[in-house]
């Protein structure tokens, strides 16, 4: 059975979402049409507004509605201290920790040669300029602990050292409140290797 053209267009449009196939898209479309028209209209407005209004922050590449994101625009933060993360979700997680007063650089991914993602695709040319201009004094590497995350961290490390900036990598190991027996072997081995003397 064929759908009416507008319904079919809506279903097709939903399939652009990650993890949404034809079947889920159909369910979403029917749900909005049958049970939640208001929600659907609100969704359409939000989508429209966000798609045309959200850009990348010119300094850190995070999502922003102005040329600078709220963090980069905040004068009270330390702008010479830059934490490099892979995604906006990482920024949110670090902000929630409440411990960090520097700014960020958001790669929106990591180096992944097989996927065609090289240094320029994750904005490292821009970070290189900031390092070169002396805007950045210290870099904290908070990329993932995957092989690609490590390669990305190493690349940025070389770049920062070449420009005379200090570099650190966030510690990796046993989660707080975690029990050792449930920690996987890879993490545990890393935690053992990176053990620290006990300070009084």
């Amino acid at each position: 059975m064929k759908q009416s053209p507008l319904v079919q267009a809506l279903i097709d449009a939903f399939t652009c979402l990650p993890g949404v196939g034809a079947r889920s898209a159909q369910r979403m479309a029917y749900h909005l049409l049958e049970r939640n028209r208001e929600g659907g209209v609100a969704l359409a407005h939000s989508l429209e507004a966000a798609m045309s209004g959200v850009e990348h922050c010119q300094r850190c590449r995070n999502f922003a509605e102005a040329s600078l994101c709220p963090v980069c625009a905040d004068e009270r933060r330390d702008h010479a201290l830059v934490c490099v993360v892979e995604s906006p979700a990482d920024v949110l997680a670090i902000e929630l920790s409440g411990e960090y007063r520097g700014r960020y650089f958001v790669l929106m991914g990591h180096l992944s040669p097989i996927d065609g993602v090289g240094p320029d695709e994750i904005g490292l040319d821009r970070l290189a300029n900031q390092l070169h201009d002396g805007e950045v004094q210290e870099v904290i590497l908070a990329t993932g602990t995957t092989v690609e995350g490590e390669a990305t961290a190493h690349y940025i490390h070389e770049m920062a050292v070449a420009n005379g900036a200090a570099v650190s990598r966030i510690a990796q190991g046993v989660p707080m409140g975690g029990e050792l027996e449930f920690v996987d072997g890879v993490t545990l081995a890393h935690a053992l290797k990176g053990r620290q003397p006990v300070k009084n």
Binding site: S112, P113, N163
Partner: protein, 246 residues
């Protein structure tokens, strides 16, 4: 059980029969799953869906695994992947080299084309990359040469395409997939090619020649897009230079 090169295990992908494997590439699939490209000892390159794969930290490149897959379609289903020891510790430039090997394999190998011996060769290359005593370019060149050989594009450094021994005083050019052809003003000097064939890796210009020769021999098999991992070396070296100068 690994069945590394056993004929009886060739091309089989039975869930009961584990196969020694290396992760070449992973990409997210659905919420927590992954589609993983493996290089397996007996089945060559194969792709499998790993359910909840993003929660399995050992599904990473450069870590020996025994994998159990099921299904016959091009995209298998990963039943289990057990780590077989620690990851090979590749750091810095060695890590770029490892990523280069993976990129090369994903571009050159077809799925489900068993390549007996290749996984062993790959493992040996990784071990050597982790070992600072081995010059990294030498490891890469040896791997590239073996890979071409195994895929049937082997390149003779002692004879030209007509089976004539190379002459020290003659220049040669490469006809990809065929071999070296004598040519006036060819890119490669016979003397250098013979030195390379004899395993003379001491001179920087012989090593550069080996790099250029391999690059030309690989090019037709890599498609139009440039290899991204090569950019990492080039720009990494530029940073190092900038750092030394400043």
């Amino acid at each position: 059980m690994t069945g590394r090169c056993g004929r009886w295990a060739m091309g089989m992908s039975d869930a009961r029969q584990g196969d020694r494997a290396w992760v070449l590439h992973r990409r997210p699939y659905r919420n927590t799953s992954l589609i993983v490209e493996f290089l397996t000892a007996s089945g060559g390159r194969l792709a499998a869906v790993a359910r909840s794969g993003r929660r399995q930290p050992h599904l990473q490149p450069f870590r020996p695994l025994t994998v159990f897959v099921s299904g016959r379609a091009e995209l298998r289903s990963l039943k289990n992947a057990e780590p077989e020891g620690a990851a090979i510790p590749l750091r810095g430039e060695a890590l770029y080299c490892g990523l280069y090997l993976n990129e090369l394999l994903v571009r050159m190998l077809h799925r489900d084309d068993p390549q007996p011996g290749l996984a062993g060769c790959y493992e040996e290359a990784l071990q050597r990359l982790a070992d600072d005593d081995w010059p990294r370019d030498l490891v890469l060149r040896q791997f590239e040469q073996s890979l071409l050989q195994m895929l049937g594009y082997g390149l003779s450094l002692e004879h030209d395409v007509h089976g004539q021994p190379l002459q020290p005083g003659q220049d040669y050019r490469l006809v990809p997939d065929e071999g070296l052809v004598a040519a006036a003003n060819g890119r490669y000097a016979g003397r250098d090619l013979l030195a390379l064939a004899a395993g003379d890796w001491q001179q920087a210009d012989i090593r550069r020649l080996a790099r250029d020769l391999m690059r030309e021999a690989l090019a037709p098999h890599l498609g139009d897009r440039p290899l991204i991992s090569r950019q990492l070396f080039r720009q990494g070296a530029a940073h190092k230079q900038a750092g030394d100068e400043s």
